[in-house]
Symmetry: C2
Subunit: 276 residues, 2 copies
């Protein structure tokens, strides 16, 4: 596996590759969710490029950029058997002095995470556009765990004509249902236990849906009810929205997204299920 940091090195190596290239963009501190994306890319593409970059522009001023978990050595060891090439640019390479260009998606980036984390998706779409242009992949792999990120990036790809297929992989979960996330490391034992309530709450709403319930407010109510049963959690939002536009639904007709953001102590966790 080759590990590169400058854009010039990446370009030179990229242009020497024949066949299809799959990109797996990550912020490092890799877990089985990331590895499942890399395996899928390896199955589908001739070459896999993993990027590891904790993107400062997608963190709000009061968010956890400084303490976001990092362990590059461990990351490299984990992906070594799975990857041709890893790109680990510095912040100075991605955002040099005088940097001043932004890619912004509007409507679909506004609710949910966009409403709670102003500027977050502007940072995401900008860095992903930069990664796409730098790596020039045929396919790029993202996890369903970040459902709105997927919707926003799909919209960007469609709107800006990126010749790239976005592949969305299922959320990887712990045996007790907790969605894997680099941020789970923040949880102490008691919080870790409580964190299963996101999965339980989504499961309860899905059960209602599968029993025929189509009233979105009833599903939101069920999710809130289950979350309320866990005293350590403080829900930030609970949503039952259209799968493509992410607008809140009254009645579920087509594909829908159940999603939520929940604080457990100071740790903010998100999770979602797709219905239909």
């Amino acid at each position: 596996m080759r590990s590169l940091s400058t854009l010039d090195e990446l370009r030179k190596t990229r242009f020497s590759l024949d066949g299809t290239v799959g990109l797996v963009p990550t912020m490092g501190f890799l877990h089985d969710g990331h590895l499942s994306l890399i395996r899928r890319a390896r199955d589908e593409c001739d070459h896999v490029i993993v990027s590891i970059f904790v993107n400062p522009t997608q963190f709000g001023p009061k968010e956890d950029l400084a303490k976001y978990p990092r362990d590059l050595e461990r990351d490299l060891r984990l992906i070594e058997p799975l990857t041709d090439l890893v790109w680990t640019p510095s912040a100075e390479i991605m955002y040099p002095t005088g940097y001043q260009t932004w890619v912004e998606v509007e409507a679909v980036a506004r609710p949910l995470e966009g409403a709670m984390r102003p500027g977050h998706f502007k940072g995401v779409t900008t860095v992903v556009a930069k990664l796409f242009n730098a790596v020039q992949p045929h396919k790029a792999y993202f996890g369903q765990k970040d459902a709105q990120q997927v919707a926003v990036i799909r919209q960007m790809v469609r709107d800006l004509n990126f010749p790239i297929e976005i592949v969305v992989c299922p959320t990887t979960r712990e045996p007790d249902g907790l969605a894997m996330s680099s941020r789970n490391v923040y949880l102490d034992a008691e919080q870790r236990q409580a964190a299963t309530v996101l999965f339980r709450s989504l499961s309860a709403a899905k059960e209602l849906f599968e029993a025929g319930e189509r009233d979105a407010e009833k599903l939101r109510g069920k999710m809130k009810e289950v979350l309320a049963s866990e005293p350590l959690t403080e829900p930030q939002y609970v949503s039952c929205a259209d799968y493509d536009t992410l607008e809140e639904l009254t009645e579920i007709k087509g594909k829908a997204l159940l999603s939520m953001a929940v604080f457990i102590g100071k740790t903010r966790l998100i999770d979602n299920f797709v219905l239909g």
Copy 2:
């Protein structure tokens, strides 16, 4: 020459091309300035793709989108001997229902044209990013006539890691010095005569510079003085700015840009000289 309109047709044809590709993005109603870009592209690249698209998002609500001159048949006839491929997408192809993604450059897009035409460069950078992704050229050709557009696009290419070389070609002028522009067709005979004042004004300031003047305010004063001698003109701005940042200068040290926007009747003309 093949003429295509859908993105799928363009992609299919583009992927079948071996060797280097040069893109010349235009809004049509082609003149010798455009043809000089196409010739340069033909000299430097294995294939040339010309796009013709009057981009609605770079026109302000009170600007001349509806009456912007168009003559596709004539355009196609003019470029037939020079071009492999012309892409003429419709507005519906470029901005389908639900379109919501924008590329925006900040500081360098703010003064001069950016100050006079709010939103103009946001439309320019967005459509150019779309054209770059659709065509995937190795080089893209722009005229020095639109000096700030060149500065803004260069910044975007650098910031977003587009693997594309921006080639800037000299302004093509009529024998009396008037910069070629599709908008010159708006001028009546008397206005056309008056329009040479932009070139005369820039030339007078350049002469001062070549005689050793480095006080930017004196060069701006000289340009204003020459413009004032022509009663049909109404200057909108007159600038002597840093070539890269486009910030107004006090003293000229490195490369500088003399530029201006002038109304002649209802027609808005721009022109510029590079110093140093």
